[in-house]
Subunit: 192 residues, 2 copies
DNA sequence: CTAGTGTGAGACAAGAATGTCTCACATGGG
DNA sequence: CCCATGTGAGACATTCTTGTCTCACACTAG
């Protein structure tokens, strides 16, 4: 029967294809559909049966990235404890998705004309709310807008992912480098 | 005679074409040679006479970006005064080139295979030296490597340029947002 | 006026990537 | 055993971009 294996087998295959495509496109953002198919171990025909075209594939990757980000936001429990600790948890949880994120980050720069996925707006709102909470509690300075702190976080994650990829930063330092710079800045301060 | 107007007229035309191409590609990094030519007010044939191909154009833009960065580094007098003030001057001087920089920044991500222009290495070295000077003087914390601070600066400049482009950050705040986050971080501190 | 030079417009072929299609093969259930 | 479904391989047309070429036109110096 067609409605049997369809729901379960296709799902895991689709998941596997998406993971492979993410891993490949993270390293080579201009990879061909043929290369993506080979990386996933399937033929171009099958790839094209699952994703109508390159656009559909990128959209699916976007949805995957959004889902992973939302899962990271959930796991980070942004509402609990101090805002600083929440930011630390957020970066820790989001690190596995950093490669995919940096790919989507630059990819979105050339989708400027079209409307962006509503999921990004939701993520932006949640992260912005975290920074705003930190400002309201007196923990964060108020002269940097939550919108900018959110964008800066994305930019630092992308820069961190590329730095690790280029070997300029040790993979183990990824979290600390981002969190410490974002929270504490470069200037030395007296430990209290 | 041909060897007369060649040195002077071609130079200014080339400069104009490069500026136009930079302005266009900053907004739409996938612009066609035809679009680049139209943006510069010349025909595709003439564009192709000045730049052998798209690669040559990008290389020339890269050289332009490097030259502007080096000019900014010179103007910022990185060796004078405190490292913090030097960083402030650097961001201020580099702001006009931020758009071009962010374009080249993402463009270089997909040149991963090829060797990068030696100019970038020189710039990295100069900026790294600035952060190292701040560390040696006790001004900057030593747990963030100069290499990471340099990459983070690039990432923040790109993020700032895109944020301004998307209207998420006011253009007037560009310098402050970057400098304050890079130097001071998000955490509030007592003013001394 | 005339020759030389640079430019714009457009035709043209080459190449790459995409989207679509067909066909043969394997596998798994009836 | 037989059939249906999904897959791989490959051919094919299409589209887009690029690089090259030719030709006509404007301008300018001699």
């Amino acid at each position: 029967m067609s409605h049997m294996g369809y729901g379960c087998l296709m799902a895991v295959d689709r998941e596997h294809v998406l993971r492979s495509a993410a891993a490949l496109l993270t390293r080579k953002s201009t990879a061909t559909m043929d290369e993506v198919a080979k990386a996933a171990g399937i033929s171009r025909a099958t790839l094209h049966r699952q994703f109508a075209g390159r656009d559909a594939l990128v959209r699916a990757l976007e949805a995957l990235g959004i889902a992973e980000c939302e899962a990271a936001l959930d796991a980070a429990r942004l509402d609990e404890g101090s805002a600083s600790d929440a930011v630390r948890r957020l970066v820790r949880e989001i690190e596995p998705a950093a490669g995919l994120l940096s790919f989507l980050y630059t990819e979105n720069q050339l989708f400027e004309g079209e409307e962006q996925n509503a999921g990004w707006a939701r993520l932006d709102a949640r992260v912005s709310a975290l920074f705003r909470r930190g400002q309201d509690s007196g923990e964060f300075r108020i002269d940097l807008t939550p919108a900018w702190l959110t964008e800066a976080l994305y930019g630092l994650i992308a820069a961190g992912a590329w730095s690790v990829h280029d070997g300029k930063v040790a993979a183990n330092d990824f979290q600390n480098m981002i969190v410490e710079l974002l929270l504490g800045g470069a200037t030395r301060r007296e430990e209290s």
